[in-house]
Each structure stands twice: as C-alpha cells, then as structure tokens.
Amino acid sequence: MEDQYEPRIIAFCCNWCSYAGADLAGVSRLQYPPSARIIRVMCSGMVHPNLVIDALTKGADGVLVCG
C-alpha cells in the first residue's frame, strides 16, 4: 500500500448539484478511490481562484471544482 501513489484531491462541490451527486453516488453504492476530499460550497461560483492556488501550493495533487 505504502509504495502506491495515492493522489490527494480537493474537490469543491456545489451544494445543489455535484454535492448532491456525490451523495447519490453513495446511495447507489458506486465505488471510487478514496483519494478525494470533498468540500461543500453553496455554488461552484464561490470558489475564489486564490483558494485553488492555495490548495495546490499547500500540497494538493489536484483540485476539482464541480458544479
């Protein structure tokens, strides 16, 4: 396990669509790798570019803005 590369992804998900979609993925028991950390936002439009840059500079391997 240790030698496997596990990316760390920050996902900003819109409360009304993609966050609900992630919930639905759970209800449907769709399995996906546990490498993403979802942060709920009220709209993907509220994600300031600085937040994305911050996440990348602080060590995130990827940032997903979903909405």
Partner: protein, 1083 residues
C-alpha cells in the same frame, strides 16, 4: 460484566459473550463464513481464528465459539493468527476454487491461488443453512449426512422435503451460493414476489420499501408472506435490527377524523392490455406496456437503465411504439376517451431509448392523431422527427411473432389504406389511464357524480369542486392529465377546499419555542464531535471507535462520542445533555449528508440554546463508507480527515443573525379575465385584501366572447355569477383602465405603481393578463371576404342567435391557422374541441347543413374525444391536410371555394361553402414590459415562463410572483380557472405568514475593503447587489449593499472580488481555507 483486552484495547461485555462479539463491539474486523447473528455459533469454517491468552496458556481458537473470560488477552492481528487464517482459507479455496466470494476473501488474506488442485465443490460444509433451517425457521428440511469425503448437505433420504416452506433462508445465509434452487430441496418452485414499482420486472424481498423515495420511508413487512406472522417462527429481522424497530404486534388501525373539507386525489391505474389478443401482450415476451418500458429506461429500474428484451436480454435495435392502446375505442374492454398523456409518453420514451441505446436506434411510432397540445410539447415532437423517428399515421392490426427468436411483426394499415408489415425487436404499447373500480365505489359512497367514463363531473368555472358540497377533487380523477397539470390541480383543490375553512386557518398550529441563545462573546471554541455508526452503514466499514479517539485529539475538540443512530430521538436528547454538560459551543456530527439531516441537528442545537449556524457535518456515510466498502482502512482514514476538516471549519463558525422580513398581506392581481377574477376571489375569500388591475373598462376578458365550454355549459350565466361576486366583494378593489408602470421590492413587500399614478403595497402578484387571437390578415381571404371569420366571431354569432346561420348551406373550419408552424411552433390546445363543438351546434341548428373541418391532427384530448365522435355521427366531414399543402380558398359565384388535398383519397377535393371559420392561433399580448418589471423570463413565443414545468407550474422563478391563464400558454377556460385557484393557493402560503424566514448564509460586504469597483454587481445572478455611495470623512465613499431577500448565498461575488470586500457567511475564505488545510493534513 467481564473485562478483557483485544489488541491491547480494554472492553467490558456481559458474561456469555463470544470473543467475536466483543471484538466487533470494539469495531475490530474478524472475517467469518459460518457465523450468523441469531443462529448458534458452530465453529465450522475456522477463518475467525484469534490468539487467546489466559493465564499462561496461549492458543489459537475460533473466536465465534470462544466465550469471554475475566482477564482474557486476545490478539487478532499477530503473524501467527494471520498465517493460520490464511492456511484455513487456502484449504477452503482448494475445496471450492470457483466460488467468487471465497476467491475475494482469499485475495484479501493474501492467498492468490489454492495449494491443492482439483477441488470442484461449491459447499464448504459450514452448516449455516442447516442451523438456520432448524433453529430459526424450526423446520429442519435439510441436514448434514455422510462422513469424511461423503459429507454433504441434503434432505432426509435425499427425497424431496415435505416440510420445506421454500422460504429461502438457507440460500440467503449460504456464504458460497451453494443453494441456488429450492426446488432441489422441496420439489416445489417458489413464486417470486414481484416489485410493483418496477411493474413486475424485478423481484423484491418480503420486507421492502416501495421505492427509494417512498413516504413514509420506513420499510414494511408483507403480512401475507411473513413466516413470523404466519407461524411464529423465524423472527430474524427483529433479531438483526440494531434499532430494535420491528414490532410484529402492530395491527391495522381505523381512525375517525372530523374535517371541514375532503379532497379526492385517488389517481388512476394504467390500462391492462392483457385481454387485447391482437397486441399479444402477456403472450409474446418482447411486447411491453409503456409503464414497463419506463422502468426499463430508469437508471434506478430493474436493469439500471439498460434496455433489454424480456426474451433474451438483448438490447433492441428497432422498437415500435403503438399509441392509443385501449383508448379511443368502443370495443369490449376498451375506452372511448383519449388519455391525454400517452402520445407524449411514447415520444419521450423514444428520445430516451435513443439516448440509452444509441443514435442508430430505429424508432417507429404508430399513431392516429399526434396529440401534443401542452406547452413546449410540439417542439418535442419536432425534435424527435429530427432525430430520425418515423411517425407513422396508421391503425395497427396486430402484433405477431416473427420466427422463434422473439422478434415481432407489426401489421398496420396506413392512412391511404395500404396494409404493411414490419419486423421489430420489441414493441411498446402506449397504454392509457383508467379509473379503478374501488375509486368508482368511493365516489358512489360519497355520492359524487361521475361521467360515463368514471371521471368527476365538475363545472369548468370551478374545475376542482365536485357537485357534492365540501368534496373537492384533483388529478387524473378529474379527467386524464399529465404531471404538471395534476400538480397544478392539487394546489387548485387546496384553494377550493380551504375557502370554507378560512376562519380556522392556523388555529391548530403549534409553534416550536426555542430557549434564548447563549452569548458566546469571548468564548474560545469548544467543539463536540458526534460520530454516527448509522447501524452498520458506517460502523460496518469504518472503525468508528478509532475515529472517535482521533477526534478527541483534534484541536479545540472538548468532547467526542459515537452513536448507533445519531438522528434518533434518544440520541438527540443525549446530545443536548452533552452540550450542556461539556459546555460545547460548536457541534460537528460525522454521519450522513447535511442535505438530508442538517435541519434535524440544527433544531437540536437551537433546543440546546445554541445558534443553528454553529453546526457542521462530516459526510462520512454517503461520501465515504458507502463508496469505499471494500477499503475499510482507507475509508477510516478518510473519515478521520473529514472529521478534521469539519472541526477546522466549525472552530471558525460564528453565530449568524436569523433574518426575517414582514409580509404585507395584500395581493395584486393583474388582469380581469376569468383567471384574474377567480384568483382574486380565491384570495379575497381567504380574507386578504386584493387589488385587481384591468387595462380595459370592464371585467370578463376573452370569456365575454365565448358561448359554451367544451362540456356544453353556457359561459354567460356563469361568467355573470363570477362577475357579481367579484364586483360586490368587500375585499376586492378594482382598478379599471390601468396598467402596471413601475415595480419595486421583493416577495412580501412589493410596491407597484399603476398608470393612474396610484401606488399599491402588496405581498404577492398574480399575473393573468390573457392573450389574443392571431388575425391572419390576407390569409385564406380573411378581411377580404366577409364570410371568412375567426372562431370567436362565430361564437358571437351563435351567442347573438344570428339569423344568417340558419340560411347557410355549407360551412367549413380550417384548423391550425398560424400555429404549429416554424414561426409559432406550438399548439393552442383549445381550437380542435372548440371547432368541433361549434360544428355540432351548426348541425343542431340545421341538420341539412354540410359542415367540414379541415385539420392536421384532431386534438380532442381527454373526454373531449366524445365531441369528436358525436360530430362524426352527426355527419360532420373531417378532412386532414398537411402543413405544406394548406387549403386554397377562392371566391367563386358568391360562395367560397376551398381546394384541399385529401390524405385518404390522395387527391385534391373542392368544397363550396358559405361560411369559413379560421381557428387561428392564440398569441401573447405585449408581455415584455411586465416581464421586465417583475423580472420573469418569457419563452421564445413570448409567453411567461414558469419556475419549473412540473413541480412549480404556476410560480415564476422570482419568488412571490404567480401566473395563470393564457399569458402562460394557450389553454381552455377550465384549465385557466384551475391555474387561478392554484395561484391563490400558492400565494396563500406566503400571505398567511406574518414574516418570512430568510437564509442567513448570504453575502456580507466588508465596507473597509470595498472600493466600489462593482465587479460583484455584474457577477450576481440574482441582482441582489447594489452599488451605493455615502459620505465618509468628507469624501464620497463607494460600497455595495446586499438585499438579503434576493441573495441566495451563491458567493459569485466573493469569488469575483479582488479585494476581499464581500464574503458569504458560513463559507468565508478563512473557513474554506481551513478545510483545505485540514484535508491536506496541515492542521
């Protein structure tokens, strides 16, 4: 109680508990195969081996049978234990190398392939099935016989068991899938329980939820098949349920309620085509009803949205839809009316099937008249033609099998009389709706008069009131209809039913009282973390005790605990105690989704004296354990991160002010036609002041020109009655000769200025400004020959008993003038029935008169079909024309000569008539100025657009604004009246409140950072931000202001602002940044 340690963690359990159960209490996972809660432990498979140390004695033993003892030391993770389990697993896999469940378990234990080749069994002889049958079901149909290599699970003497009930419990618990066929045990074939929701296309257990979104959401047990309720045996579900929620003693209860009004909304059943032998439904597997096909298309359906044939599971590449199945027919067992929704169902299914199967899907729709009269339906019909669907105007003779591989041959007759055959992979019967006998019986019991087709009889002016006082009805029971109209009628019935109850409104309300909120000024954050097991949903995958331990070490966490079900009432009560006991001022619940459960916990916070915005959820179920079921270790790590992120945000949360706005209880209704008057009366009867604005000098609108409604009722006396009520209602203030010129404010507090200069303060607006007929200058000699008139002109002639009508020898109607064309791609919904109705009136006046109706599709939907039939019986001649071959109208010898290509004869025919009525389209008034003032979008044709076609059919997307009647889309009077009532009902939900509660998660400007650049003003999709100026230190300072009612908290402003001059409360850059840092392990 006994104390022991497992993997160095102490645990206290009652005497008699097994080591396995104790380990599970700690959340330590031990693999098992032969173990099942509720049956006696057996120690048959040995994969649950653990190392047990008692005193000086160390041994490897099966944890499922080993009882706990004081001071026992257990290890589940030593190399010896893992090696021993691996060896046991290797032996089991060697015996049963082909069993997928064992292969997966072996892989997890590091056993890639069996060491001993040649195994060919799929039974590991764990005896779980035998114990289940004996101990739980008390049946004993199977047992273990033989010894050594001959040992096997079988029935006594290998004969069929006489006592087996085919309950399937043995197969259910079997870990390897050995028991597949209960017929081998009993000689009987169990009848599967079919899912009603999936139209019998899938099976479901005896404990079931009808469908995932069912209300109530609790599963039910089917008494008819429950072994516990029938025999007293089994009872497994009660043993297994961790919430102890199963109560076998529950009985049906009869309740007596005292009510002031009753609304009947019993719905319909789809027509069952089994007895129509021509279509072969029930005999040929690949003939589906539209309801079955609907389930096949559904991603939540039996095939997860993969379209499959019943015969071989293959994906059909060529599908035929047959319209009007069981409808528009006088044959035995069929129905004469049109079901209204089924044409659209077939079109929709074809479009979706093409999306699922691919663009090469061959779609053929066999229809008589394409009836797509609702808003935007016509465009849908055009769209599917563009996608290559073949719309075949025909009558289907039969569906027969073509060969033996499940294909079907459809034999049909075209409009021109040609008989054709075509082969399809599958056929879908677009079935209609019928009112079931129990509903008819209910209506009889209530003495509610029904039509010959069993639909409720009602006046077009009060479409949701039955002819029985105090009883109202809505939906399909009032006549066949689709979802948007049913939703709208539901609201209309509510308005009609609550009219008599206006005085009692709100008297049974119990307001929830919360204690005053604590002042947290100067207090450091004290976070409480509550981690939910959600039964096994979370605890069965992630290590909940480890998450709780972890949470205790997160900065500012004062208290952490686990719950079995955090949302249960007792857990809530206990959490409130913990909040008080530990003086918590922020709460994190790690459980399911905030979308579903945050309000429950926020209420709990308020009850505990905390502001509800001091709450944060970590979504460790939907977004973790449910989606990482095979990776318990990584899932646990992710849960910890999610808790850390939630706490990181929670520490920075601040109490937010609850925002409210007072509601002005007055209503403004624009438009004095039937819709406007009905809406005004609906609200005035509820006790609200209503201002009714009419641009002309009299009320009545288009209805003044109408003679009868489609049901044959005279319009004038009913309109007069409505006018009298409106004119004399003390709560209704009428403004004649006035139009709206200015609007300010938002829901609850609008101010509208009229052209008269008067300003009206009001809480809501209902727009019902109607529409007008299209005047086709120059087309079909209109305005050139006095004998060419519009539909409303003919109504007026009939209304005025014009003598000329009696002298006419021949009359004709041309339908779809100006509509269903590329310029106006919509159907008016009213003109077919209107022309047919007037044709009948002409025939009644003078049976000798020749009457022709030139039409494109005869859209006498619902029970209007009976008018179409009656007209044909009376000798009205219907001639279909095509849009691209319109009739030619000429003057000849003082009469009108119409030349049209008859589609049945396939050649032009000439008609000589004295009067030609043009059924012209209905076009909107100049709606743009009003749309601009109230910020309501218009569709491409200029009609007002509703917020959502199905679930918000009368609401505008701007809150507090409603629409009814022709300004929304052309429709008959009955539907306009229903919409008006629906508007009154929806408006009542706002007007009945003293104030509106607003969401506090909205934008807040930071004046000192804002330099008034106004980037945010343009970014705001809700027009909630205004640029303002004020004097500061002798200078003009620009800044922005947020309207808390309009702001939806989307934060587009926050992301646009280059200077941190605006932020969304509860989602500040600091809070989101803290979540990012926590996710990256920096906090």
């Amino acid at each position: 109680m006994i104390n022991l340690t497992i993997n160095d963690r102490p645990v206290e359990v009652p005497e008699g508990t097994t080591v396995l159960a104790a380990a599970r209490k700690l959340g330590i996972n031990i693999p098992t195969l032969c173990h099942y809660d509720g049956v006696k432990p057996y120690g048959g498979c040995r994969v649950c081996l653990v190392e047990v140390t008692q005193g000086s004695r160390v041994q490897l033993t099966a944890s499922c049978t080993y009882p706990v003892a004081e001071g026992l030391v257990v290890r589940t993770d030593t190399d010896e234990v893992l090696e021993a389990r691996g060896f046991v697993m290797d032996l089991l896999l060697s015996r049963c190398p082909e069993v997928p469940a064992l292969q997966e378990m072996a892989r997890q234990m590091g056993v890639e392939a069996p060491s001993f080749p040649g195994g060919a069994s799929d039974c590991i002889l764990c005896g779980k099935c035998v114990r289940m049958c004996h101990e739980v079901q008390h049946v004993g149909a199977i047992g273990i016989t033989g010894r050594g290599g001959r040992r096997q699970i079988t029935t006594p003497f290998g004969e069929f068991s006489q006592v087996c009930r085919t309950c399937g419990a043995c197969a259910f618990v079997c870990p390897t899938g050995h028991i597949q066929d209960l017929g081998v045990i009993s000689g009987k074939r169990p009848i599967p329980r079919l899912s009603e929701f999936n139209a019998g296309l899938s099976t479901q257990g005896n404990i079931y939820k009808t469908y995932p979104q069912a209300v109530p959401k609790e599963p039910a047990i089917d008494r008819a098949n429950c072994i516990q309720l029938l025999t007293g045996d089994c009872g497994l579900c009660a043993q297994t349920c961790p919430a102890d929620a199963i109560d076998y003693s529950q009985q049906e209860e009869k309740l007596t309620l005292g009510v002031g009004s009753v609304i009947l909304a019993p719905g319909f059943k789809v027509f069952d085509p089994s007895h129509l032998t021509a279509y072969g439904y029930g005999r040929y597997p690949n003939v589906f009803t539209s309801l079955e096909f609907e389930r096949l298309l559904s991603p939540g359906g039996p095939t997860h949205g993969h379209v499959q044939r019943r015969s071989d599971g293959a994906e059909p590449k060529k599908i035929g839809w047959i319209h009007c199945v069981g409808m528009r027919s006088h044959k035995e067992g069929e129905h004469p009316y049109c079901s209204n929704f089924c044409c659209m169902v077939a079109l929709k299914q074809a479009i979706i099937a093409r999306e699922h199967i691919g663009p090469d899907l061959d779609m053929a729709l066999f229809f008589m008249d394409m009836r797509t009269p609702r808003k935007d339906f016509e465009k849908y019909c055009v769209k599917i033609k563009d996608q290559g669907a073949r719309l075949i105007r025909s009558r289907v003779h039969s569906v027969m099998p073509a060969g033996h591989d499940g294909d079907l041959e459809v034999r049909y007759v075209t409009e021109g009389g040609e008989v054709k055959d075509e082969i399809f992979d599958a056929v879908v019967l677009s079935v209609g709706m019928v009112i079931p006998p129990d509903v008819v019986a209910l209506a009889q019991q209530l003495e509610v008069p029904l039509s010959p087709n069993n639909f409720v009889e009602a006046s077009c002016f009060e479409p949701t009131s039955t002819f029985q006082d105090g009883i109202f009805s809505c939906g399909a029971f009032n006549g066949p209809k689709d979802i948007p109209q049913s939703v709208m009628e539901g609201s209309a019935a509510a308005a009609a039913a609550s009219r008599a109850l206006a005085e009692a409104r709100g008297t049974l309300l119990k307001a929830k009282v919360f204690p005053p909120e604590q002042d947290l000024t100067g207090q450091p954050p004290r976070v409480g973390v509550f981690v939910c097991n959600c039964g096994l949903n979370i605890g069965g995958v992630a290590d909940v005790p480890a998450i709780v331990e972890y949470a205790r070490d997160v900065p500012d966490v004062t208290y952490a605990q686990a719950n079995l079900f955090t949302c249960s009432q007792d857990a809530q009560a206990q959490m409130m105690e913990m909040i008080k006991e530990h003086d918590l001022n922020r709460v994190v619940v790690a459980a399911c989704s905030p979308s579903t459960h945050a309000p429950i916990f926020q209420d709990m916070l308020r009850s505990a004296g905390l502001n509800k915005y001091l709450f944060e959820m970590a979504n460790i179920r939907n977004q973790c354990t449910w989606v990482h079921q095979q990776e318990p270790i990584l899932a646990t790590e992710k849960c910890k991160d999610l808790v850390n992120m939630a706490v990181a945000k929670a520490r920075l949360l601040t109490p937010l002010e609850y925002l409210t706005v007072d509601v002005n209880h007055k209503a403004l209704v624009i438009g004095g036609g039937v819709a406007g008057m009905t809406a005004a009366l609906g609200l005035a009867d509820q006790g609200y002041e209503v201002h009714l604005v009419e641009r002309k000098d009299r009320l009545g609108g288009n209805a003044l020109k109408l003679h009868t409604t489609w049901r044959g009722g005279l319009v004038k006396p009913r309109l007069d009655a409505l006018l009298r009520k409106v004119l004399h209602h003390e709560k209704i203030h009428i403004h004649y000769n006035a139009i709206v010129e200015g609007v300010t404010g938002v829901v609850g507090n609008f101010t509208t200025t009229l052209s008269s200069g008067e300003a009206i303060d009001h809480g809501i607006v209902i727009i019902a400004i109607g529409a007008e007929p299209y005047r086709p200058e120059g087309e079909f000699l209109y305005k050139q020959n006095p004998n060419v008139i519009l539909a409303l002109d003919l109504d007026r002639m009939i209304l005025e008993k014009n003598e000329r009508l009696k002298t006419i020898q021949a009359a004709a109607f041309i339908q779809c003038v100006g509509s269903r064309s590329p310029e106006r791609p919509y159907c008016n919904k009213v003109c077919c029935a209107h022309s047919v109705e007037n044709a009948i009136k002409l025939k009644v006046m003078n049976p000798e008169m020749e009457v022709f109706i030139l039409y494109r599709d005869m859209r006498t939907y619902g029970e209007r079909e009976t008018l179409y039939e009656k007209a044909r019986e009376m000798g009205v001649v219907f001639i279909r024309y095509r849009r691209l071959q319109p009739p030619l109208v000429e003057e000849e010898g003082g009469r009108l000569k119409i030349t049209v290509t008859d589609q049945i004869l396939g050649r032009p025919v000439s008609l000589h008539v004295d009067l030609l009525t043009l059924a012209t389209t209905i076009i909107p008034h100049q709606n743009a100025p009003l749309a601009e003032l109230y910020k309501i979008p218009l569709n491409a044709e200029g009609f007002f657009t509703e917020a959502h076609a199905k679930i918000k059919p009368v609401e505008a997307s701007t809150e507090g604004i409603f629409m009814a009647g022709l300004c929304h889309y052309p429709k008959p009077l009955q539907e306009s009246a229903a919409e008006a009532l629906a508007c009154a009902s929806r408006a009542n939900t706002i007007l009945s409140r003293d104030f509106l509660q607003l969401e506090s998660i909205i934008s807040n400007p930071v004046d000192e950072n804002c330099d008034g650049c106004a980037f945010c003003v343009d970014a705001c999709p809700f027009a909630a931000i205004t640029l303002i100026e004020y004097m500061k230190d002798g200078q003009v300072k620009k800044t922005v202001e947020v309207n808390p009612i309009q702001c939806k908290g989307c934060g587009s402003c926050m992301a646009t602002c280059p200077k941190q001059g605006i932020y969304v409360a509860g989602f500040t850059p600091e809070q989101l940044g803290a979540q990012v840092e926590a996710a990256l392990g920096l906090i």
